[in-house]
């Protein structure tokens, strides 16, 4: 069992950033300015990463891929 006075480790800080830190450890965080500074810096990085946009390939990508895939013909032959 974790001692309530122990500083948060990196796993716990990640849990806190996700809103999943157990209440007992959240009490330590509320009382410890060192952990709060550390957790806040970590949360900023995690938030910046989570909010990154998703990218998509250009139009026609799927057609270009399928043009190069071998399709199993009913005859049993493989065609490009």
């Amino acid at each position: 069992m974790t001692d309530i006075s122990m500083h948060l480790n990196t796993d716990e800080i990640e849990l806190w950033a996700q809103g999943l830190l157990p209440a007992a450890r959240a009490i330590h965080l509320a009382d410890c300015s060192l952990c709060r500074v550390e957790a806040d810096r970590e949360r900023k990085v995690i938030l910046a990463l989570v909010q990154l946009p998703k990218f998509a390939p250009t139009a026609g990508f799927a057609d270009r891929v399928m043009a190069q895939v071998k399709v199993h013909a009913p005859s049993g032959d493989w065609t490009a």
Binding site: T10, D11, R41, E42, K44, V45, I46, A48, L49, V50, L52, P53, K54, F55, A56, P57, T58, F61, R64, V65, Q68, V69, K70
Partner: protein, 163 residues
């Protein structure tokens, strides 16, 4: 998967080539897929391997541009280096610098490729540590270490920028 590749190689056209290579391998090799393995993890594994292979090859090419390995003095390095002319920025380059030009994107680009894959899978794709370990064929402890180090480095880069 395309986002991962794009952030790994930071070149849209190349990321499309690698994504195409990945899908062709997936579709042509579908019989080798093991159902006990998550399908998306299998695709990410192939994509990540393609990106890492490319970056390793590129690193060898970059070294060769920096002078012959046998060069020992600055003069020998200069004499054996390839000189590249200025490269004009194309419209595609402009799109890329807009897309990947934010502080966090530039900080990600400075991470080691292994750290980059892990941190992107964890926080951008939302994979668990266990799924990342399975996808990248790495021990769970290594994945945790890479992610913690990557986040530390990102914090450092972002803090430097603010100072």
């Amino acid at each position: 998967m395309f986002s991962l590749l794009y952030r790994m190689v930071r070149d849209r056209a190349l990321a499309e080539d690698l994504a195409q290579e990945t899908f062709i391998k997936v579709l042509n090799g579908i019989k080798s897929y093991r159902p006990e393995f998550k399908f998306s993890s299998w695709i990410f594994k192939i994509a990540n391997n393609a990106a890492i292979d490319h970056l390793r090859r590129k690193s060898i090419d970059t070294l060769s541009l920096d002078g012959a390995p046998s060069a020992e003095t600055p003069d020998q390095v200069r004499a054996t280096s390839l000189q590249l002319g200025d490269r004009a920025e194309s419209p595609l380059d402009e799109v890329e610098s807009r897309e990947l030009g934010t502080a966090i994107e530039r900080a990600i680009a400075r991470l080691r490729p292994e750290y980059r894959s892990c941190i992107l899978l964890r926080h951008v794709e939302g994979y668990s540590y266990e799924e990342i370990a399975e996808t990248l064929d790495l021990p769970l402890g290594t994945v945790k270490t890479y992610i913690h180090r990557a986040r530390n480095e990102l914090r450092g880069y972002l803090d430097d920028r603010r100072e």
